[in-house]
């Protein structure tokens, strides 16, 4: 029998009911419709699609921030072993916290370790994401954009997760920095069989990081193909369109 996948999603649907402010109901919005996929340990699934295709709703359902209308999410691990990194991770850091406080906070909430242990753990994790120990006591608002990206990743890493969901977390960076962060993510994966779900509208980035690519449109997964050889295997018109729009893949 093959080992159980890390994450199994079956028939996931999410409908938003809208209320008009003067009473009565507006038409429902179906954000997700019958979404199914599995993800194994140490693999990366990219979910790509245009704006409004339901990518972020999927991420939020997985992370438990939304309750799905129907369907099943099975994660073989403790809830805390799934970590979500938001869009604009740099803005998601408290400007008044020092780097050490940012990284240690999940441990404090979990009630893990003594002060000195937590500090040591923070130092280790910062080293893992390539931040020098000198930033430990610097407030996050004084760090550069790239350093804050790394800090947001360190914050997710500190609880030793099995799955990290990156919701458009590395878009909006300059290309060099994006490459650096992508390299860091691959590096971390090879060291500790981490899995990623990468939510993105950038097919170039997705193809560079992921082993599988799922294409979403209007709340459905319209196609799921291996990242390698994407150009030849993809058949759905939307996928072809996204490939045509991507810079690197098109050439």
């Amino acid at each position: 029998m093959p080992p159980e996948p890390l994450l199994t999603v079956r028939g996931l649907s999410k409908t938003f009911h809208q209320r008009r402010w003067w009473g009565g109901n507006a038409p429902d919005i179906t954000a997700l419709e019958d979404v199914s996929f599995t993800l194994d340990r140490g693999r990366t699934l990219a979910i790509v699609g245009p704006s409004g295709s339901g990518k972020s709703t999927l991420a939020r359902c997985l992370a438990g921030l939304e309750t799905p209308t129907s369907g099943e999410i099975r994660f073989s691990g403790a809830p805390v072993e799934m970590q979500l990194i938001f869009q604009q991770p740099a803005a998601s850091l408290n400007p008044r916290f020092t780097a050490a406080e940012v990284v240690e906070e999940p441990l404090v909430i979990q009630g893990r370790g003594w002060r000195a242990d937590r500090r040591r753990k923070a130092e280790l994790v910062l080293e893992e994401v390539g931040l020098p120990a000198s930033v430990l006591d610097r407030r996050s608002q004084l760090l550069s954009g790239g350093e804050r990206q790394r800090l947001a990743i360190a914050r997710a890493l500190v609880v030793e997760p099995r799955l990290i969901i990156l919701d458009e977390s590395i878009v909006g960076l300059d290309v060099g920095l994006q490459q650096q962060i992508a390299g860091l993510l691959i590096d971390l994966q090879s060291r500790s069989s981490l899995s990623y779900i990468l939510i993105s509208h950038d097919l170039d980035l997705a193809a560079g990081l992921a082993s599988e690519i799922a294409v979403m449109d209007h709340g459905r997964i319209v196609e799921q193909v291996p990242a390698a050889g994407l150009k030849t295997t993809a058949s759905h018109p939307l996928t072809r369109e996204l490939i045509a729009a991507a810079k690197v893949l098109a050439t």
Partner: protein, 313 residues
């Protein structure tokens, strides 16, 4: 340290500016202390002129200003024609009363408005919060004058509280003074409360809506920790500056309330001096109030300096 020196220098300049302007304006106002006597047939014009000369009212403006400044240096704050003595001791006698009122009202106002503001920011768009907002809007629209009169009328009607002054006749104990404090302090606190609560609410809700707070909430950080560790430290800065400002507005409200409730503070002294055209006393009260105001803002600046590393940088 340089920041402190700069603030002190700034405050000193402001004091000098206020002294020049208020001296000028008091001189521009028509009439002087002896104008009343002009209509008295028993006092001759020559006597009036002699009195004015004797008290230096006929000397040129810069000379009088210089004399006044010198007397401030001695702590006299000029010579009161109505009280026939230096202004300094008069002020010293009244300052504690005003400080007691404003100090109590400031402490009470902030103690009430910080929890109320946090509570209302945390419970936005719920009906208890909406009703608090209505109550505060009503309070905001009632002038302190009206509120004081209403409370005094109530006190007289029911007889449960003394209607003015510092002591009841024949009593001088602390409990009695405390009972006399209730009405003026209530009026001042209620006047201050709506403004403070609104500011606390908006500062806290702004911090609650910041991306980092949303992210923290989504990360499952417990509500209490989110509020006290993440949101409040960020919301603090605008409130600290507000603290300095609140002292100023409270001081002017206090003068009015003191007059109405017969509280022995600077207010009644100020009003009597204006009616009597006893300008030395008027100027003295203005200078002391300005000094309070500048001092309050200086304290706020120092607190801000301690709280926010960006100012230090």
């Amino acid at each position: 340290m340089r920041y402190l020196a700069r603030r002190l220098l700034h405050g000193a300049f402001l004091l000098v500016g206020v002294s020049v302007l208020s001296f000028l304006f008091s001189d521009l106002a028509p009439g002087d202390y002896y104008s009343e006597l002009q209509s008295d047939p028993r006092v001759s014009a020559a006597t009036l002129a002699a009195l004015r000369t004797q008290n230096g009212l006929d000397r040129p403006l810069p000379v009088r200003y210089a004399t006044w400044l010198k007397s401030i240096g001695r702590g006299d704050f000029g010579y009161s024609l109505a009280y026939q003595g230096p202004v300094g001791p008069l002020l010293a006698q009244r300052i504690p009363g005003t400080l007691l009122l404003t100090g109590l009202a400031t402490a009470l106002g902030w103690l009430l408005s910080v929890p109320l503001g946090i509570w209302s920011a945390a419970r936005r768009r719920s009906w208890p919060e909406a009703s608090l907002k209505v109550i505060l809007s009503v309070l905001l629209s009632i002038p302190e004058l009206l509120m004081a009169i209403a409370l005094l009328a109530l006190a007289v009607q029911t007889g449960c509280l003394p209607a003015g002054g510092l002591h009841s006749p024949g009593r001088a104990d602390a409990l009695d003074a405390l009972r006399h404090l209730v009405i003026p302090v209530t009026v001042l606190t209620l006047g201050l409360l709506p403004i403070l609560v609104r500011h606390v609410r908006s500062a806290v809700s702004e911090a609650l809506d910041a991306p980092f707070a949303l992210a923290a909430a989504a990360h499952g950080i417990p509500w209490r920790r989110l509020l006290f560790r993440h949101v409040l430290p960020v919301a603090m800065n605008p409130l600290i500056s507000l603290f300095g400002l609140s002292l100023g507005s409270l001081l002017s409200a206090s003068l009015l309330v003191e007059v109405l409730t017969g509280w022995p503070g600077l207010g009644p002294l100020f009003l009597d001096a204006i009616f009597a055209r006893d300008y030395a006393v008027v100027l003295g009260v203005v200078m002391i109030s300005t000094a309070f105001l500048i001092g309050g803002n200086m304290v706020a600046d120092l607190l801000l300096y301690r709280a926010d590393p960006r100012i230090r940088g």
